[in-house]
Symmetry: C2
Subunit: 127 residues, 2 copies
DNA sequence: TGTATTTTTGCAACTTAGTTGCATTAAATT
DNA sequence: AATTTAATGCAACTAAGTTGCAAAAATACA
């Protein structure tokens, strides 16, 4: 228990997560894998991979769910507190490798912080 | 032009936004107003109010859309860069009155920042 | 090995937030 | 009052994500 079974679906989906910081949306993944596996399987495999701390999910600007490889997460505690960036021109979404400085909030116990930055990536900025 | 027409729907919906920082989800608003107006109207009125800078929208933890009163927004530029807080116990969502310090990101032009903090509010913390 | 058990997958149907087209009503303009 | 413009209701739709159940695949174990 606590170990991902390397089924064909798992291996295929994992191959979409490069070592970089780029994220992929579930919708995109479902579309690309549409003639290889069912969308339910995609959703469930992603769930499992996130439970095991291999990938993490977050919401993009339009409310879609994105996944990216974890670099410093464990099964039950996703420590990777970093911002995500979505380019409003080309749609690329990625994890930024900087730490977020969380404000101290009176009388509240903060457990998670989701930071989504939107703007233009380098490529689109220079067009 | 550029001014909200104070129709019955507008007045009713505006009355749901107190002077405080508490937010309300669209789903909740649609439900509460279900025998007063159509859900399409709720969506459209909220759109207009946001266009005019009276309220602002953001996504909560479960991907739902929430609205809260603007304190420092204008029609085309929502300056109010503050974090939102969602209590995972009672579900309350609110705007936090602190400034977010955005990290400097190389080679990217950041236009907006959405920060969602989740945890326990004061009430739920002390149960 | 073969059989029983558990996990994974596919499929179809469903749920739900949000949108759209269009006809109707209401408000503003002249 | 007549005309134009904007707001609303309604029904049907879209799309992301979920669920139940049966079939298939992987694992355990005698």
């Amino acid at each position: 228990m606590g170990v991902i079974r390397k089924t064909k679906s798992v291996t295929t989906i994992l191959s979409y997560f490069s070592d970089g910081h780029e994220a992929i949306s579930v919708v995109d993944l479902v579309e690309r894998l549409s003639d290889e596996m069912n969308k339910t399987t995609v959703y469930r495999v992603l769930d499992r991979l996130e439970d095991e701390g291999l990938i993490h999910s977050f919401s993009g600007a339009k409310g879609l769910t994105w996944y990216a490889k974890c670099h410093d997460c464990s099964s039950h505690h996703h420590q990777d507190v970093h911002p995500h960036f979505e380019c409003k021109e080309c749609g690329k979404v990625e994890c930024l490798d900087v730490s977020i400085e969380l404000p101290q909030i009176n009388n509240r116990h903060i457990e998670t912080a989701d930071v989504l930055l939107t703007g233009q990536c380098d490529d689109c900025k220079n067009l």
